[in-house]
Amino acid sequence: MSQTWFQHTFNRKRFRTRNQATAMAILGVAVLLLLGGLYLSQVASFAITNRGIEDLISRRDQLKRQNEQLVGEIASFRTVPRLYARAVEIGFRPAANSDIDYLLIEGYNPQRGYAQLERSVSIPLEEAAPVYAQTFSAWLEQQFTLLRDQFDSFGE
């Protein structure tokens, strides 16, 4: 009786070496490794940049807080009672009405104005973000430089 497909399957004990397939598999693995390496390098570079940004944000916030602290101190030094006391100390006195001479100035608006404050407006994201104009060859060159720098740093 001829062998059934089941027996045929179980009876095959030897595998033939296929050089071409093996080479392809090795090449595939090598390509995957290369891509994986590049991906990891890219992710590492990305993470390092973002950590740098985080540090800069943290530093910016710290400077901002120090600045606010200084603004607070300046404002405290400029309170009216303090200025008044200091003015008296150095010999000034409040002006009486009789001390004041009024002049007629043509074009002068006697209506009291008020300060036109302007907040330091943050730059819109479109303006702040760098324009992406990198070519593929430039990117490859950048990756190569990064890789070389990493090797250089290992050697140090």
Binding site: F6, R65, Q69, R78, N97, R112, P124
Partner: protein, 582 residues
């Protein structure tokens, strides 16, 4: 030939069934796999959320509260950061060294500190809130076991100055209360932002909304005027041993509140230490009171406007009048015989005001009182402003005697802000401007200008001028303490008794005295309201004109208002210039 063994036969017989079963199972799995790709959105989002919770963290970006400035750009309120300090004792490498470092920075007991640092607990709170300098010094230690948490704090560099106008912020800098902080909380507070940050790979999103920060506010307050007003008010409250006092300065031409002071006041930087909770109220807009005889001015103005009386109107003053079964008396029960409307104001004749009120009738009188803004909030832009109380015919408990009493400012409740707004309308030729405390709102998009707006014309320019002339006579003949050398002043003092359940209070400290004056009387540039609660003098004319004078004396210099003589000469010179130039 020997056939297959029985075991093989069984296997061969069952194999197709197994194969079919496996094929069905595989098909089932493939179908499920396909189905998995097309989950309902909610389920997919939930799964994505679970997935991202592993790789993402949420960063809370606090909303920076907008700042508050006076009209000249001096900061009145801004933000600082304080810190709360804690320690993870298990991570401390050197207890003693850390203890010494922290004790030197925080100036706290070393023993307590050591107990916390060497505790068995996972986390120990050490101190807070601590100052920014201390926080930065601790951060510089670069100690991994220490945790510094930022606490936003509102700081008021001017201390008590304009405390009730600016207000306070509760809940670690998040919720404004009282004053502008409370009224404009939504504008100032901004939006707290939760940013989702990827940890794998680490990525900080850049798409933060630009309108996250709160908007800045510029007030109409003049810091210098506010300071002088507060100084004089404090002196007046102490001199006349009053329970408390309020002063408001308003520019009648545009409704700008230049100064608003209450005494006693509080320090918004230390409001948690306040023992008397009434200090956290702004009496200028939250305390409605019976204004007393100062209202006679508005009764006369209303009567002139409605044509009930003319400037030549007179009546026979017997010193008393019965209205709705209740008797109304003049001050000291004096009778003045034939008296005109100006005399009613100069002598502060309650019977005269009630007579005018009765002649007007309820419809006209209450219609004019509503037009002057009583019984409704002014909308000045301060927290928790009350409408006061103006009972009209048809309201519960209103009786005929109310008309008589209301004519000279009793049996109705008004706020100081309502009073000064009404008098500012008279000073501004009968046009009532919307009182306002906020002049600009500054956001990322730019500056929003709050333009002066007109509420309504309450009386005609002619009526306003006639009443102003009467008020000038009041200052010259009835309240000479309010006279300022070189300036014509229009004003009126008023005294209100304090009602009780069985009548009114008597004796010392049993009245509320008010003075409202406009400077200069012709073309007024400032209206000043002075109010003292329970001073040691009963009558307003003996107290408030002096306080008004002291404030106005300085105000004309700060606001650069020349005296009458100079203004007349300047006007004449202007006329010459324009004539020559023609």
């Amino acid at each position: 030939m020997q056939g297959p063994s029985p075991q093989k036969s069984i296997i061969q017989a069952r194999l197709p069934f197994v194969a079919v079963f496996l094929v069905l199972m595989a098909a089932y799995l493939v179908i499920n796999l396909a189905n998995f790709q097309f989950f309902p959105r909610s389920v997919r989002q939930e799964l994505e959320k679970i997935g991202s919770s592993v790789t993402n963290t949420t960063l809370r970006v606090p909303a920076e509260r907008g700042l508050i400035f006076d009209r000249d750009g001096e900061p009145l309120a801004f933000n600082i950061v304080q810190y709360r300090l804690g320690v993870s004792p298990a991570l401390v490498a050197n207890d003693e060294a850390l203890m010494k470092d922290l004790a030197a920075i925080l100036d706290i007991n070393e023993f307590d500190l050591f107990r916390k640092i060497s505790s068995e607990n996972v986390w120990e709170f050490i101190a807070g809130p601590i100052s920014a300098e201390q926080g930065q010094a601790i951060a510089a230690l670069d100690e991994i076991s220490l945790g510094l948490e930022e606490i936003p704090k509102r700081f008021y560099p001017q201390g008590t100055l304009a405390a009730h106008v600016i207000g306070i912020v509760l809940d670690e800098g998040l919720v404004g209360s009282l004053g502008v902080e409370g009224a404009y909380n939504d504008t100032l507070s901004g939006r707290v932002l939760d940013l989702s940050i990827s940890n794998v790979p680490f990525y900080l999103p850049e798409d933060r909304p630009s309108e996250q920060r709160g908007k800045d506010i510029v007030l109409t307050l003049d810091r210098d005027v506010q300071f002088w007003v507060e100084s004089e008010l404090r002196a007046a409250v102490e001199e006349f041993k009053a329970y408390r006092g309020t002063v408001i300065v308003m520019d009648p031409r545009d409704g700008d509140v230049l100064a608003l002071a209450n005494y006693p006041t509080m320090d918004p930087n230390r409001f948690l230490e306040i023992e008397d909770p009434s200090l956290l109220e702004n009496p200028a807009v939250q305390d409605a009171y019976e204004p007393g005889s100062i209202m006679q001015v508005l009764t006369v103005a209303s009567a002139l406007e409605t044509g009930t009386i003319s400037p030549y109107w007179t009546y026979n003053d017997t010193g008393q009048l019965e209205v709705g079964g209740q008797k109304i008396y003049n001050r000291h029960f004096q009778a003045h015989g034939t008296a005109d409307a100006a005399t009613v104001l100069i002598r502060s004749l309650n019977a005269g005001a009630a007579t005018i009120g009765l002649e007007m009738g309820t419809a006209q009188f209450y219609s004019m009182m509503r037009a002057f803004g009583f019984g409704q909030p002014t909308g000045v832009g301060l927290f928790a402003e009350v409408p006061g109380e103006l009972k009209i015919p048809g309201d519960t408990n209103w009786s005929e005697s109310y008309l008589g009493h209301n004519s000279f400012g009793q049996d109705l409740q008004v706020t100081s802000m309502q009073l000064i707004t009404a008098f500012s309308a008279l000073a501004n030729d009968g046009i009532m401007r919307q009182p306002r405390i906020v002049r600009q709102v500054i956001g990322e998009a730019g500056v929003e200008e709050a333009r002066p707006t007109t509420v309504r014309r309450v009386v005609s320019a002619e009526t306003a001028a006639i009443v102003r002339d009467m008020m000038i006579r009041v200052v010259r003949e009835g309240a000479s303490g309010g006279f300022i050398r070189g300036y014509t002043i229009a004003g009126k003092p008023g005294t209100a008794w304090i009602s009780t359940a069985v009548g009114q209070e008597y004796g010392e400290h049993s009245s509320i005295v008010t003075f409202v004056g406009a400077v200069p009387a012709y073309n007024p540039q400032a209206v000043i309201l002075v109010k003292l609660d329970r001073p040691n003098e009963y009558y307003g004319y003996a107290v408030t004109p002096q306080v008004f004078k002291r404030i106005a004396d300085r105000l004309v210099i700060l606001l650069e208002i020349p005296d009458d003589d100079v203004r007349n000469r300047l006007e004449a010179a202007k006329t010459d210039i324009s004539t020559d130039g023609r």
